[in-house]
Symmetry: C2
Amino acid sequence: MMTIGIDIGGTNIKYGLVDDAGHVSHRGNLVTADYHTIPGLVSDLHNRLADVLAAFPVRGIGIGAPNANYHTGNIEHAANLQWTGIVPVAQPFSETFGVPCALTNDANAAALGEMKFGMARGMNDFIVITLGTGVGSGIVSNGQLVAGHDGFAGELGHCVIIRGGRLHHRTGLRGTLESYASATGVVETAREMMENDHAGSGLRSVPLSELTSRKIFEAAQRGDKLATEVFKFTGQVLGEALAIFVHFSSPEAIIFFGGLAHAGDLLMKPVREAMEANLLQNFKGKVKLLQSSLPEADAAILGAASLV
Amino acid sequence: MMTIGIDIGGTNIKYGLVDDAGHVSHRGNLVTADYHTIPGLVSDLHNRLADVLAAFPVRGIGIGAPNANYHTGNIEHAANLQWTGIVPVAQPFSETFGVPCALTNDANAAALGEMKFGMARGMNDFIVITLGTGVGSGIVSNGQLVAGHDGFAGELGHCVIIRGGRLHHRTGLRGTLESYASATGVVETAREMMENDHAGSGLRSVPLSELTSRKIFEAAQRGDKLATEVFKFTGQVLGEALAIFVHFSSPEAIIFFGGLAHAGDLLMKPVREAMEANLLQNFKGKVKLLQSSLPEADAAILGAASLV
């Protein structure tokens, strides 16, 4: 049987039909800003999928979206979406399509995708960390998503790792994981290091406004010392954070997804060292650090579909 | 039906019969050092309980013990017990008594006790933190104990909260929660403050070797400024740690158990302030901080019995 997977982002809404082996077909893409209300989106999608729904039995709809509440099926106060306040989503989808609908945030969906189709197959206890513009997380314990009392658990990017550290502008918190271990954080670290350290670096020829984590990564690959230090520091902060998470839920693996996850050993070597150095003896050498194997283009749709 | 609850500690082994309402009867106490092997303990306990077992139907045995592995039923490498290496416990109990036996560490048992008989009745997502000589924790998510991949999850006392902070001698880790928010940590903080701050304090008349967290608490209650600062700092570190834990599992409540939990507002006011200051907007004002209501003398037995 097939499942509809929908990934609602600030810019695009991607959808597709997912079979039990994790193959995505009948993909489509909508522009988020075109839809002023959820019922408008639901009815448009239902029309677009009419032929598909007639041809295939569908067991349900899974949706990944920012600020999605797993318990209520609503999107609640999402800063990056035009739907303000608390917006019912699962209910209108379920009513119009006549099948169950569940939603959760994108990082939780990623975790379920890894469990059903990716690196976490057969695992009951693991954490997925998305290292992109921000740092997201999805946690599975006892084979179940850790959703928390209010449906909003798994905000590991907002844990303070360095007391009184760098200000994270959107949240007002200081020293959170996201302010260091995101693409944005990597650029900020490079900027700080260039300010405080007067050693030469190829990065100095890049205008600050054009500095990206990719350019820093490429410089580090060419052996640029400062760029290498940036990844070393980033990895250290991330590794210290992971040690905390391991003491919490003792996962079999931590799986990385997103742009920075491709930095390989440049990031992962310091991550592992810092994590191991901050673990109780009991946990040392036990936790696998893995990179997601899901195809980047389909991961969000696969994850959303895994909800059902 | 009744359950046997057993609490294995470094000094004493306490046991009792627990009914469905959480009343403990037929209590007993053994000296841990008297038992060189688990089978010896099992057979002695079976003899002592022979009359009880003949009179009451018993559904199972629950055991709380240090370094207990929930998944395997073994005690593994417990530093404070004379049984070295990996020692089967659930199996010999189960075989001799003819009923199921489960074991977990004392803080996990406390969490299950709170869920069945205490402040967490009706809750599916909460954390119990024991503030004693050390800092222990038991985490419940989706109504289930977070045991982790290896059965050893929930070591929140060993999370690093202050990078490069105070050395925790037993583990070799620096800046962990336990090195600040335990009875031992409170004494250490007072010692440091007296060394670095030359203000007068009633605590200065107490010989350092006789300084206890209780004496510091009593001084604070009398209005001693330095003693009050000790609790303020302790609460701040604990509150910062709680914010991390809330971002992880979004619990409905955090329940405190053990000696320091009785310090009341002196500790809890700074705890709440620091926690709230370090939370995402989404979580602010939502998490209940509660004190355990289980009778101190029975809590460990009740918790252990709740395992079955």
